[in-house]
């Protein structure tokens, strides 16, 4: 294997030389940091490792998840493991999916100035400003779908001049959509009724009493849906 290529990065301003193949997260560990905050699933799903960075000599402030972003030469890195955001409390059984609910729980979304900084900040490349616009209009289905891949890292909120907590707005829209707007699954309701009435008890009881050898036979010869 050839000699490892190294790059210089700046962790909270301090310079370290690290292998170029690392992510921001593994580079910080290479430099000697042991995470408590700012590290969660390490696989791009939990949003714990929100990070901002600037490349030396460049103007633009960039964002990323530390676990999913490869280091580059001259990268100035700061993590944002926690940022004060707003979470409105509500009872999911008491709200209804109309425009009024957003007005009362997250009125600040109507202060959006349309700067699009949220969308530019999103490491998941979601149309954040657009889904806020859907929420303003009360189109929760569209808001839910557009915000679906959100990992709630909060980088949008960090950049928002209107103080909007976008991930929570998306969360509310998704729950309203999942509970009230998406069509009911009738086969599910039916099966739950059967189970509650005990209609499946006998079959399960019988299986529980079946000797292992017979169970093995049942398993090995069962038909498999195409």
């Amino acid at each position: 294997m050839s000699e490892e290529k190294m790059v210089n990065i700046f962790i909270m301003g301090k310079k370290y030389e690290v292998p170029a193949s690392l992510t921001i997260m593994t580079a910080m560990e290479y430099a000697g940091y042991k995470y408590v905050r700012g590290c969660g699933c390490r696989n791009g799903f939990c949003g714990a490792c929100a990070t901002v960075y600037r490349i030396k000599g460049e103007f633009e402030l960039k964002t990323g998840l530390a676990c999913q972003t490869q280091v580059q030469e001259g990268m100035y890195i700061s993590q944002i493991p926690s940022f004060p955001t707003k979470k409105a409390e509500y009872d999911i059984n008491e709200v209804s999916p109309d425009q009024q609910v957003m007005m009362s729980l997250y009125p600040e979304i109507y202060s959006c100035i349309g700067c699009n900084a949220c969308t530019n900040a999103c490491p998941q490349k979601l149309p954040v400003m657009q889904y806020i616009a859907y929420a303003q209009r009360g189109d929760f289905k569209a808001c839910a779908n557009a915000s679906f891949d959100c990992v709630a890292c909060g980088l949008c909120s960090v950049r928002c001049p209107a103080g909007i907590t976008h991930p929570q707005v998306g969360e509310l829209a998704r729950r309203l959509n999942g509970k009230y707007i998406a069509p009911e699954s009738k086969h599910l309701t039916k099966r739950v009724d059967e189970i509650v009435k005990g209609e499946h008890e006998e079959m399960i009881e019988k299986l529980m009493q079946t000797p292992i050898e017979e169970l093995k036979n049942l398993y090995n010869t069962r038909d498999i849906e195409k």
Partner: protein, 532 residues
Amino acid sequence: MLTNEMLESIKKVEATRDERMHAELRKMTAEEKEAILNAFHPDYKDEGFEVLQVGPNKGEKVPTELCHLLQGTSRVLGKDIDLENPDYDTDVLIIGGGGAGSSAAIEADEAGCKVMLVTKLRIGDANTMMAEGGIQAADKENDSPAQHYIDAMGGGHFCNKPELLRKLVCDAPIAIKWLNELGVMFDKEEDGTMVTTHGGGTSRKRMHACKDYSGAEIMRTLRDEVWNRKIPVIDYTAAIELIKDDKGAVAGAVLQNMETGELYVARAKTVIIATGGAGRLHYQGFPTSNHYGATADGLVLAYRAGAPLLYADTIQYHPTGVAYPSQIFGALVTEKVRSLGALLVNIDGVAFMNPLETRDVTASTIIRECKERGKGVPTPDGGYGVWLDTPMIERLHGEGTIEKRIPAMLRMYLEYGIDMRKQPILVYPTLHYQNGGIKIEANGMSDVENLFVAGEAVGGIHGRNRLMGNSLLDVIVFGRNAGKNAAAKAKTIDTVGKLTLSHVDSFEKELEGAGLAGGELSPKLLPDYTRK
């Protein structure tokens, strides 16, 4: 950058794709499966295990790294802990903020108990958040809980505890309905019919999903509900030891602030361990798909308190972890990729197995293909992988399917310039799941009075090998179950007796007697990846 060898091999994969498109790949016989597991599954390698010399499972083998922690040194030894004046007082104490802990919290709160949830990271930093593929439930006309039972039994090598499995499969549709009514957005047809697929080892298409963010969608909904209910969540605070009362029942825990090191005493009428798995112990040097905190802490706490473990020697290696690129080495490539039709293909472009065998068999067959047959594709890190032929998905189900059904996978690879719609991806097994854990009864209680367990920390539900989609299911079913039963039990307790840590001292004496005192500090709390 793909190596030249990879590019050459991709050409062979492309050349054979047409003839593989509708190939019927044979499933193995029971005898073939047994043989391949014996020869290639990591659980069958004796050098990865050690025999416990103290505690309830004395004489049984467990993975070496877990053995050292179970027989490790308690973090409370020599510490001045004031048990007379607890810092927290609650009815139900829940340790762990993943899917099981959150479900338990919601149900215990619903039952009217005072609930407190502690987590060493944040609520939602858990394997639940990372579950991609889906959640099983027999809710279609051609399916039944009994059919689900047979599938899970067979997958688990007929070692599943029948009364636990019964609960899992019968409560499955109820769990899906509960989640749906909390607002979880399941993939549905226009008429409301759930979109369901196969997983490895299923006989019916009963895998429900929320794109490939299934666990994330479930976890964030539960988290939002916990917050809405104003249940106290004490984050960045680990439980480092259970506390008992003078009658030997569990009655709280010693907590430690992960940042300041400060210790607290929490008194509770009942305790639920929902601490999850052990991937970050990297058994046998495997990479892992698990989250940062998956270090088997709950097993250590329960074991010291006298709770036996069940099947702690069985580990699930997910067949398809990322083999390349190195930045995401070991990360999960959801089984749904295979459910959607992608085949496993070797360096010569040959599909070497039916990709929907159970996980243990599939992982073992991939290992055989690389180690014995030399048909793996070498990676720059010195390892190897086999191809997962993802472009087949677009061919089978139409263009745009990958973006619609597995967007997280597409996004993860695009970060490194790999477009899985157009080129296959390299995979190799990764340490994924702890099949075994703490033994419980159907009410969720362990063998120690007032100590309940839920989620991946439980052993017995899945026997010796879990099927895809039964883990997300188990965290919901057994999380809710533990929450309800721990709350009901708490209501029967007027006042908690005198608190004690004497079981920790007794365990330490046992260790001394066996010549094992002075082992590493446990629980481990977090792995250490700093450069040495």
